[in-house]
């Protein structure tokens, strides 16, 4: 069966995150990297790339090419935080997510096609969700395997989308320079080019003898790759040991009502992922970071394991209220919900009718969100009440 594979690549990730956090950087050449003498460019935004600066370049050379570039030391924990948020979005579409780095992942959405519709639609919604949730842009490639999906994501950067299908396959990959083919390292490259092979098309049409001479027993595979064939499966990182979602608030929150509203949203997303992965959760963990950065976790076992949002929410609410009773006057800057002790859902539920009123609701909400976007449908508790509105307005005055 033909697979649907996405390669999602965040655009100039570190540099984009820095610009997100400091909008004053927008439009200016930005380099993220070590600022000491032997520093290296970790990331370069599109403005500075015009000067020929790219990642892995020594900082000294980068600054020679663009003396007016703004250099910023990397903040890994911040990039990790945003990467987590982006990967959470991936997991709302499929559990088969193979992360290559903080800003790159393969997604196998073949199994999601029936429920979530055509892969192209999914790809565009993923881009949109990433932008809405994090403010960052990504480029997505869609094709039937990893090789082509990754080539595709590169063809239309930044904030792009590209599909390679049977109709445009040859036209797109034949002209590509042979060094883009993975499996061709620097030493092999020299020999390959010496043999007159400079592009994918050249390798695809090379003789058996040449291929054997250059690649040995890997030859057939390499030529197949040059033709766009790649059987490597997308490997989900690990059996999901836990699924979580967290949110750092733009402003510390003291109001219980508002905290509950954010909690509901986090549980919604977590529940959707548990169901998408056909799992049942046995433990709920709540993470709370106070305004003074003290971080607390509270856990509770759910017996029996569940994938029902309402059940997880009632447990999470209880944990939050318990914490609040201990620390009634503190503001919260981060809230996180996680579920663990995940097991495959094989045993049927009798009250999949009652809990199905919940599950059907959950499934309907899942479907509506996948088709029209996460923000289209919202649990009632999240809508601002008149009191909250007034407070907010007073705050601004």
């Amino acid at each position: 069966m033909t697979r649907a594979i996405l390669h999602v690549d965040m655009d100039a990730f570190y540099a984009s995150v820095e610009t997100l956090d400091d909008p004053g950087l927008a439009g200016k050449p930005v380099i993220v990297g070590g600022t000491t003498g032997r520093g290296v460019v970790a990331a370069a935004n599109y403005e500075v790339r015009k000067f020929g600066v790219h990642s892995a370049m020594p900082m000294g050379e980068a600054l020679r090419r663009c003396p007016q570039a703004i250099c910023i030391r990397p903040r890994m924990s911040r990039y990790q935080e945003l990467s987590r948020q982006v990967f959470e979005i991936f997991h709302e579409y499929t559990p088969v997510v193979e992360g290559l780095s903080l800003d790159e992942a393969f997604l196998d959405v073949t199994a999601s096609l029936r429920l979530l519709g055509p892969a192209e639609g999914m790809a565009l919604r993923i881009k949109r969700d990433i932008r809405r949730h994090t403010g960052l842009t990504a480029s997505v490639g869609l094709s039937q395997n990893k090789l082509l999906a990754k080539i595709a994501s590169d063809l239309n950067k930044p904030d792009g989308f590209c599909r390679i299908g049977a109709d445009n396959l040859r036209a797109v990959i034949d002209p590509l320079p042979i060094q883009r083919l993975f499996g061709v390292g620097p030493k092999t490259l020299v020999r390959v080019q010496a043999a007159g092979i400079r592009s994918f098309g050249d390798l695809r049409q090379a003789s058996d003898e040449t291929v054997w001479r250059l690649f040995g027993k890997e030859g057939a595979t390499m030529r197949a790759r040059a033709a766009g064939i790649d059987d490597r499966p997308v490997i989900a990182e690990r059996d999901e040991k836990s699924i979580s979602a967290e949110e750092t608030f733009a402003q510390d929150i003291r109001s219980q009502t508002q905290l509950l509203a954010h909690l509901t949203q986090l549980v919604d997303r977590t529940g959707a992922r548990v169901r998408a992965a056909h799992l049942m959760a046995g433990v709920v963990t709540l993470k709370i970071r106070r305004s003074d950065f003290a971080t607390f976790t509270r856990q509770q076992t759910i017996e029996p394991a569940t994938h029902d949002t309402a059940t997880i929410l009632s447990v999470a609410k209880g944990l939050l209220q318990g914490w609040r009773a201990e620390y009634p006057d503190w503001s919260v800057r981060l809230l996180g919900v996680g579920v663990s002790h995940l097991n495959p859902a094989t045993q049927g539920d009798l009250f999949a009718g009652e809990t199905i009123k919940n599950a059907r609701q959950d499934a309907a909400v899942d479907q509506i969100r996948q088709r029209f976007g996460a923000k289209v449908i919202v649990r009632g508790g999240l809508l601002p009440t008149p009191a909250a509105d007034t407070k907010a307005r007073r705050g601004r005055a």
């Binding site: 859902a345 049927g348 009798l350 009652e354």
Partner: protein, 365 residues
Amino acid sequence: MKLTVEREKLLAPLQAVIGVVERRQTMPILANVLLAVRDGRLLITATDLEVELVAATEVSVQQAGDITVPGRKLLDILRALPEKLAVALSAEGDKVVIKAGRSRFSLSTLPATDFPVIEDINAQQKVRVVRKELRRLLDKTHFSMAQQDVRYYLNGMLMEIDGKALRAVATDGHRLAICETELPAKAAASQQVIVPRKGVLELQRILEGEGEVELAIGTNHVRAQIGDIRFTSKLIDGRFPEYGRVIPPTPPHAVKADRDVLRQALQRTAILSNEKYRGIRITLRTNVMTVQAHNPEQEEAEEEIEVNYAGADLEVGFNVNYLLDALSAIDGAEVEVGLTDGNSSCLIRSPGSAAARYVVMPMRL
């Protein structure tokens, strides 16, 4: 408070109520039993705030009074004394002294006024039911109650009064048991209450003998006097799911089998099922049922059973424990299993009888 009594006459009522005293308490006084002495009688009360048991016994009263003492320690002392010994209890200062033969024990006490007693339950309805019948209802269903389920309303038994019928329903979300009996007289009002798990188990323990028992049902409690023991349980304040919706009315494919043959075959096959999930696969062809199990170690068991079946070929998976629980509770030599398809629940009962029915949801195998 001062009394004398024969050891057995004190031991029996204490043993009847001690089950309610939890081994670990939230409040110290819950480890104690309340001794209320007056008018030639001793009332012993034990409680865990959810279920309360009061047992009465005749004693020689030298001085009336109320006091509480550690229940399990009192029980252990009485159990360890020789038979038929006369035992004297008296409150002395802040202790209760127990004298029997040449032994003397002094136990710490807590004031009787601190002991939480469930007084008036505001009974709105009183229903008389034959003891044997009530016992049967509980015996046939209690194993299906949930335990520590986050859906707290499932951690108990639904008792439904419906005209002249009394129904008990228990479910843990995966399987359901329902049993029904006829009341001697039509009840005044239809009502549904959920008796917590602990209450059901204690009631089962003390419900013996012949005759009838009167269940008094209040807004938050149910109470029953059974011989010398008064049982009171809080009711679970929650909404029990609509069980009627999940009982398949007429499953299209019905299998009839010898109950023991089926039960034993399932027991044998289950040995090689996954220890945690206990899944077995049932395949049906005309007059043959095959049960099959395998585990993560790649070990396998398979057995063919002769059955009475004339429906379509069918394959469905179940947690074998749920099936065995139901089969053990069914009376009679034959059992009827009603099936629909691999994704729907099955209905297990004694052929032709609607009294006790069992519904089990399948597993995806």
